[in-house]
Symmetry: C2
Subunit: 375 residues, 2 copies
Amino acid sequence: MSELFGIVRSPRLRASPFYEATVRAGAKAFMPYNHMLLPSMYTTREEEYETLVNAVAIWDVAAQRQVEIRGPDAEALTQYLCTRDVKRLRPGQARYTFVCNHDGGTLNDPVLLKLADDHFWLSLADRDILLWAQAVAAERNFDVAVGEPDVSPLQVQGPLSADLIGDVFGPEIRDQKYYNFVETELDGVPLVVSRTGWSGEFGYEVFLRDGSKGPWLWDLLFAAGEKYGAKPGAPNQIRRIEGGILSYGNDMDDFVTPLELGLDRLVQFDSADDFIGRSALDAQRAQGVERELTGIRFGGDPVGYNPEFIDVSRQGETVGYITSMVYSPRYSANIGFVLVGVDHAGPGTQLDIILDGGIRHGVTAEIPFVDPIKK
Amino acid sequence: MSELFGIVRSPRLRASPFYEATVRAGAKAFMPYNHMLLPSMYTTREEEYETLVNAVAIWDVAAQRQVEIRGPDAEALTQYLCTRDVKRLRPGQARYTFVCNHDGGTLNDPVLLKLADDHFWLSLADRDILLWAQAVAAERNFDVAVGEPDVSPLQVQGPLSADLIGDVFGPEIRDQKYYNFVETELDGVPLVVSRTGWSGEFGYEVFLRDGSKGPWLWDLLFAAGEKYGAKPGAPNQIRRIEGGILSYGNDMDDFVTPLELGLDRLVQFDSADDFIGRSALDAQRAQGVERELTGIRFGGDPVGYNPEFIDVSRQGETVGYITSMVYSPRYSANIGFVLVGVDHAGPGTQLDIILDGGIRHGVTAEIPFVDPIKK
């Protein structure tokens, strides 16, 4: 069901520092993401999945732009924008967090990195959070600078990523804890290397802090990765759905709250600090949610990634919609996420899916499908 | 120099209500725009230009989303967000305006429509201004609702557009003044029809207020347009550059101010009201701008639309960059816009352009290239 179209470039659709390298490496489709081109396919989703789960995949995710918050009030603003407890973070630590609107709906689910007490990055999903953060900062008179720095991440993901990263950056960076990061340099080029990623596999992100050095970093990582079978790839829908990793704009949007995603633990309800959306989320927590994201599994022909939401019904009544779906080679079944009324979200609920004009019978399942890799 | 790539669809990249119709009509390339697919090519830019300047072109610009501002403080918020004098507008009037950040840089150049004293639309260029407006509204405690309504415009542009619109909507809507609009209904479907557009030609926009009626409106307009030679098309880079119409993200961005665009007249410096960016723009006006957008004309092989900015130099020194360029059949020359230091912006200045490895000699020119159509 995926469809391919031509896309016309313009300055408004910016190229990544790795762009020429990705085209040479065979990128044949892109996604628009934060007004940039994000490579979304080189070979096939299944072939890239094999590389990711067995060796090491390198992804150009420069489109995962950073919002940089610096200055005396950087911590106060970041805390106000994020649902996690920002004040407990030490420099060198990162957190997966939500940025909510005043109604508790999600505007983004970035990784937050604390570089220093007065210096933070929000490593973004696809949305102009720069505008959101700048508006809040200016209108609340926070003493901060909020901008988009010259920072372009590559993700290095897969079971052999530690070997590759160890060879290039040494054991200290290789062995850092999950959701930690290190500021470093290589040949005088400033970089940040974190133990994070969007794959469900063991992995790292390498944030290039000098956009002119894209080809250099790309070539360096592939040269080091050759003996580990490193290949270029794109954020992999199969593995991320298996691993219960959510995609902003698909599995959540302005009207979906963290509680509806079942991610209450990522909201600091017990904190003394205020954050945008808090009162709405407090109220929803007291009342209970009316719908919930859960897994779904179904048979029939293998499905591609869904180009739009797909309604699901129970006994003839529409009760929700599939947000993401894909065929999983691991389970020889189609799997996905479905946002449904809470009465229909319990594991094992039978739901009907209208697909290609026919009905398929699905069964809800817990998220994640695959147990997390030991981090 | 334009390049075509595959693009993978997902729910994050929403389809327009006219999407299926545009695909059936032969849309072969799309632009991502406000997280939607905007058709950007059916045949060739030149062929679509001929339809636009000689007959009537119909464009799916549903991706030109509206930010809707309603409530007791709607006028106050809209005034604070826009550089134009919002308070002078009557219901049924529209204005081309800038939305600036606190430094005076442009975040958008929407058309503002005043539907009622407490009801406004910002008809957007590509940027999440919804987040900007919602953040400002909430943090300043304006008593308003800010959202994205179910409103999807089609542009009906070209010298025969008045005949088409007259046949469908009658003489009153056909004969309305430039930058006016009318709320109306057809077969019970709510619509807004305005005398606006992004073509430089005489034209209208038809805002569909019920997304389920996309195919109906598309078919109705094409049936009425058949005798006028109506054809589907995309926002036309040739005609808009000839007409001096700017494109957000290409000709301006966060770091370019209205004064640098030479559009001081769109900033209400003499108003008693505050608006975001005012103090920065006041200061820039007092000091004078350091760079300015102007036209440029050059020969050599016809160029396609530029995928990125292109440096221009004078006597070996880089003095600015081309923001947009295209080959104009009307002038048998390449034309475009260039953002250069003010010392190099006067008409007739010779500038060198590095293109495809060679140097082309360009000459600056006044914007617009073509005198405006009598409105």
